[in-house]
Subunit: 208 residues, 2 copies
Amino acid sequence: MPTPDITARSERNSDRTRRAILEAAFQEIYRNGFQGMRLDDVVAATGLTKGALYHHFPNKQALGYAVVDEIIRDIIQQAWLEPLASDPNPLAVIIHFIGHMETLMGGDIVTLGCPMNNLAQEMSPLDEGFRTRLDLLYQEWRGSIQAALERSQQAGVIRADVDCSKTATFVLAALSGCVGAAKNAQSSEQLQICGSGLIDYLESLRPA
Amino acid sequence: MPTPDITARSERNSDRTRRAILEAAFQEIYRNGFQGMRLDDVVAATGLTKGALYHHFPNKQALGYAVVDEIIRDIIQQAWLEPLASDPNPLAVIIHFIGHMETLMGGDIVTLGCPMNNLAQEMSPLDEGFRTRLDLLYQEWRGSIQAALERSQQAGVIRADVDCSKTATFVLAALSGCVGAAKNAQSSEQLQICGSGLIDYLESLRPA
DNA sequence: TGGAAAACATACTGGATGGTATGTACAATA
DNA sequence: TATTGTACATACCATCCAGTATGTTTTCCA
C-alpha cells in the first residue's frame, strides 16, 4: 500500500521552496536585470540561505533559465495565450489589452517595462541559452496573435488582404516598443499615447 | 606668437585621448550594457591605462553619461536629425531608412540592436541621470520625426486628419520594437518583416 | 629656460559576489 | 530502529572590479 497523502505535504515543501526562489529571482531580474541580480539578494528575499539556492539550482545561469521556463512562460500564457484562445472576438481582446495595459498588468509595466522584453534585450546577444528560450516564447506569443488575427479575419472583422503573419510580427514588436518607450519616459501618459497609436493601426485593418 | 602647428601633432593630445576612451566605452556598453562594461576592458581597447581614464572622467557613471551626451547624441544627429531636416520629402526619408536599416547602420543593428534603446532599457529604471539624458534625446528625435511628418502633411503627402505628434511617438516606439525583435531573434529577416509592417502603416497615412 | 600644471603610467586596495565545503535536521525506506 | 538520502544552514574562499595613491613624462607659459 502506498504512503498516505499526509506525507505528501512534506514533498511539496521542496517544491514550494524552489518556487519561492524562482519568484524572488524573477523580481530581482525584473528590477535589476539578470547581470544585476545578486544571489545574496534573492536568498535574503526568500528568508532562505545559499545552501537552499544551490541545492535547487546548480548556478546562477540555470536559475535564470528556470525563471524563463517557469515564471515568464506562465505570465505570457495567462496574460495572452489563454485570453486569446478562448475569446470569440480576438481583435477586440488585443485592442482592449493594449488600451488597458496598466490596469491589467501591474503599474510596474510603466516603471519597469515588460519583464520578458527586458530580459531578452539584455541577454539575447550575450547568452545563446537565454536567446533560444526567449525566442521560442516569442514565437508562441506571435503565433497566438497571428491565429487570433486570422480568426477575426475569417469573421470579417479584418480585411481579407491583410497578411496576418506579418501583422502579428509587427504588432508584437510595436507593443514591446510602446512599453519600452513608456519605461524610458517613466510615463503612463506615454504608454497611453503610444498604445492608442497602435490601436489606430489595428483599427485600420478593418474593412472599409 | 603662438606655437606652430607642428607641436599639435605631438603624442599627447588630450581631446583625442578623451575621445578614444569615449568610443571604446561606447563599444563596450553597446556589447555588454553599462553594468556589463568593464573599465579594464575599456582601457585595454584604447591601449591606455586607468590613470588616463580617471584623469578624464571622475568615475564610471560620469563616463557613461559622457557617452550618452557626446557619442550617442552624435549618432542620432547624423543618422536622423540631419537627413530629416534637409530633405524636401521627409516621409520618403523615413520609409527609406526603415527599409534599408541594416545597410545604413552597420550589421550590428541586428546582432546588437539599437545602442540608444539598449542603454535606455537597461538604465532608465535604475539611474535618473541616464534616464533624463536619454529621455531628452528621445524627445529631440521624436520632435524631428513629428516635424518631418508635418512637412509631409503640408505637402499633401499625408492625410490632413493624421495626428503627427501621436504618430511620431508611435513610429519611434514601433521602430525600436522592430529592432529589438530582430535582435531577440538574431535575424535580419525578422527586421525586414517587421520593418515592412511599419512601412505599411506609414503608407496607410497617405491620402486615399 | 625653469617650473608648474596637465597628461598620463604603475601598483595597489577593499568590498562585493558567485561559488564551495561542510555540517545538521528530518523524512523515507528497509 | 538503523540507515540513507533529501533539504536545507553556516562559514568560508577566490576572483573580479571600481576606485585610489603615487610616480613619471610631457606641455605650456612666464
